[in-house]
């Protein structure tokens, strides 16, 4: 099986860069682009057709919730956010997110969530 193509969307440049390096170490995954806001994320999704999107919620220009609304479940999305409340997770899932991960968890958790979202059991 070829690696799943991932787009990362997070306005924090340092975190984006670190996530890319860490995700690329997982042979199941391959980061194809980094977006600094929701608008860029949608553009990359449209042009690169990734298998899964790792999406932050608090971003300038277009926030993660709006990205979820516009994607409307057309692409597997894992939300990665500093807000860990369960009601927010429910809200994201209702908008089509397949995964909801709180920032600060181990990388293995994030990678497993990406794979699970892109390749549902």
């Amino acid at each position: 099986m070829s690696a799943l193509r991932v787009v990362i969307a997070d306005d924090a440049e340092i975190l984006r860069s670190l996530l890319r390096r860490a995700i690329d170490r997982d042979e199941r995954l391959d980061v194809v682009a980094e977006a600094a806001n929701g608008k860029e994320a949608l553009e990359y999704v449209s042009s690169l057709r990734p298998d899964v999107l790792l999406l932050d919620l608090s971003m300038p220009v277009l926030d993660g919730m709006e990205v979820l609304r516009q994607l409307a479940g057309s692409l597997p999305v894992v939300v990665l956010t500093g807000y860990g409340e369960s009601d927010l997770g429910t809200q994201c899932r209702e908008l089509g997110a397949r995964g909801f991960v709180e920032k600060g968890v181990p990388m293995q958790t994030i990678c497993d969530a990406l794979v699970a979202a892109a390749v549902p059991a």
Binding site: L15, L18, S58, T81, G82, G84, E85, K103
Partner: protein, 220 residues
């Protein structure tokens, strides 16, 4: 959230308490700080001293984040009548931060007036046992007193207090201003501007506006 350094050199994070919405925001920021450190620690997992320090930093930040989550799940009901007598409840909002620091969340609208007035009353009892610069106990001939001029009525408004200061206190020195309200184990600072005023009974004192009450709680 702001960071300050207490006189013993310990870092203290300070946040005004605005029921749970603010704690969510603070926790969000903590998680944003935590996330890149977690990833960096995993990328640098080479057994080096740097990797070890990063891993320890992760553990500290994760502990703070987890404690905040627990507090959020508790709902944190703060009765409007909260007074210093409920300090134990207030201390329930104190989040351990490493081995020496404390994060105390204070609701300026609900807690400030009651807490400051009670601290002022207590400070009168303790004013005769204030340490001089050499560290010995000296009697203070003019203990501090305090009264509330105006309590906050809305978000962003300051608590206005009027007080008489011991003669040796310089009202323009923030470190001196911490002294009238010093209690064993609690250091209250008036991060504020003081101005001279005539108090009830014709006494000349000072009036201050308090926007943030910072309690430095030592590790017990």
């Amino acid at each position: 959230m702001s960071a300050e350094v207490s006189r013993d050199g310990a870092a203290v994070l300070v946040a005004k308490w605005e029921p749970s919405r603010h704690l969510r925001g603070v926790r969000h920021q903590v998680n944003n700080l935590l996330a890149p450190v977690v990833v960096a620690a995993e990328l640098l997992d080479d057994g080096s001293e740097t990797a070890e320090l990063l891993t320890r930093s992760v553990a500290r930040l994760r502990d703070v984040s987890n404690r905040m989550r627990e507090l959020l799940h508790l709902g944190l009901p703060i009765p409007r009548s909260t007074t210093l007598g409920d300090l134990a409840a207030v201390c329930g909002l104190v989040v351990p931060f490493g081995h020496h620091d404390r994060l105390l969340l204070v609701d300026p609208e609900r807690l400030l007036a009651n807490v400051v007035s009670e601290l002022a009353a207590l400070s009168i009892e303790h004013a005769s046992e204030v340490s001089d610069p050499s560290g010995s106990q000296v009697a203070d001939p003019s203990p501090a007193s305090c009264s509330i001029v105006a309590s906050p009525r809305g978000a962003g408004e300051a608590l206005r207090v009027a007080f008489v200061l011991p003669a040796r206190i310089n009202p323009e020195d923030p470190d001196d201003l911490a002294v009238p309200f010093a209690l064993p184990g609690v250091d209250v600072r008036l991060a504020t501007v003081c101005r001279e005023t005539v108090l009830q009974g014709g006494l000349v004192g000072y009036e201050a506006e308090i926007r943030t009450l910072v309690l430095y709680l030592p590790l017990i």
